[in-house]
Symmetry: C2
Subunit: 254 residues, 2 copies
DNA sequence: TATCATAGTATGGTATACCATATTACCAAT
DNA sequence: ATTGGTAATATGGTATACCATACTATGATA
């Protein structure tokens, strides 16, 4: 999430022509000293989202310390953060576990996404600037190529990037953060639905519809396109969760 | 957020007629051993929301340890949690400060609230059960009485309760959690707008309109009512933030 | 007097050790 | 087989020490 450009674009490219660059004498150095916590947070979050920690699995602190080579303090702090994000739950007297998901929650998450993504697409359709079209094209093409990929993480990232563009262009930063957090909680579900839906061409077709509606500056069409896309995704997801529930009795698997 | 009903509703009401109560012989004791962190979290969150810690104010760890009588670990973990909630920001090499708010963010928060609360009200209008009407009546009455109160916290809590009822009845738990978190970030703004808007009668009138639309099972009217209510609140809020900005040059004050 | 340098202080970041408690598993005794 | 106890494990909570950095104040030098 946070880049690692500690220094200004030109670190010290001009030692001879000092004070020659006209406008800003010196750019402020906004060092973002990537703290250990941040690294561990990203690492753990990614591991959970990628499914390397299964839902329901316990996250025992000291082993995590050994694996990541950091102290307990750091681990505990990141667990607190991920708990607030909804990726981790704390069982009383048992400690943190990877959050599980049932259909009731997933359904609500898709509902909220529907509202926020629909609004973002509509706003974006009205407001997008001139250099936005090629960017959205590129994002859509990324998705197209990622569909043939075997690595589902790429496809997930590509679609995420697609929506990120839309939200950012609409100026809906807060909403995008919310959606991202929600997506973290249904990441495994998303991976499943995306990979299956990429086999039939429907998923891509729906995303293309969103793309077209936005670029033709038709807010209502954009809203509609998002609606059909998310509804389809939710339906597919429901199938998975229902299966998992039937198979195991608990909803731990997804 | 978490109740403190450690024990079952009926602790041991029937010692004579043991095993007589037909279905559950004994209810499971779901003890929620309120951990130190939870207490400190609630305490600090409340302090920030109440404004006892001003926005931009530094939250120095060791003094907080002394004030609350807990160790640094606990303090740091709660700060991580509140950071994820958006109530606290971490300045590099300076440590945590209470988050500040500018109008760009506040506007977006009101936008998201508009979407989520509108949807909840509409759904609630369709689905609310039979014993819901008196509850909503009661909530509205609470607001009415709280308007005469000098303690603005009561009014804030009353309106929160009003919306909570709507969200819960609509089954939008996830959305409600999101809205609550957003409300935390604009709590001082809400307090200001609520108190000023309670002097003219408009705020109450708008809430009554929501109440009526829901109880008459008219989703569109409910959506409309929420829209006017939040739009008005946002406009009032904008006035405050603009003032603060003009007065101070920075947006630290709110 | 003005500037520079140095030391001191405060704070965040990290690591480690310790204790109390709750849970679990295992083992022994009846 | 059920009961009871004990040890192991893991967590919550605490305390402490160490280092790096930022800010501050003091003093020395030009």
């Amino acid at each position: 999430m946070i880049g690692q450009s500690y220094l200004s674009p030109e670190p010290n490219a001009d030692t001879k022509s000092l004070m020659k660059s006209s406008e800003p004498p010196l750019q402020k150095i906004d060092k973002a000293p990537q703290t250990l916590r941040d690294i561990v947070q990203d690492r753990l979050r990614e591991a959970i989202i990628d499914g390397r920690f299964a839902p329901g699995q316990r996250l025992v602190e000291r082993p995590l310390c050994d694996q990541l080579g950091v102290s307990r303090t750091v681990i505990r702090e990141t667990i607190r953060f991920l708990e607030a994000e909804g990726l981790v739950e704390i069982l009383p007297n048992r400690g943190p576990v990877v959050s599980t998901l049932d259909w009731a929650q997933a359904k609500q998450i898709y509902d909220v996404r529907l509202l926020l993504e629909g609004a973002a697409a509509a706003t974006c359709a009205q407001r997008h600037g001139q250099n936005f079209a090629p960017e959205l094209d590129r994002a859509l093409n990324y998705i197209k190529t990622a569909m043939g990929d075997t690595e589902w993480a790429n496809l997930l990232q590509a679609t995420t990037r697609f929506y990120e563009l839309i939200f950012k262009e609409a100026g809906h930063i807060v909403a995008w953060e919310i959606v991202q957090r929600l997506n973290g909680r249904i990441s495994r579900l998303r991976a499943l639905t995306l990979s299956t839906r990429s086999r039939d061409g429907k998923g891509l077709k729906q995303l293309t519809a969103i793309h077209d509606a936005i670029l033709s500056r038709d807010p209502n069409a954009a809203l509609q396109a998002v609606e059909t896309h998310i509804t389809a995704a939710a339906t597919a997801a429901q199938g998975f969760l229902k299966d998992a529930k039937a198979g195991l009795g608990k909803d731990l698997q997804l």
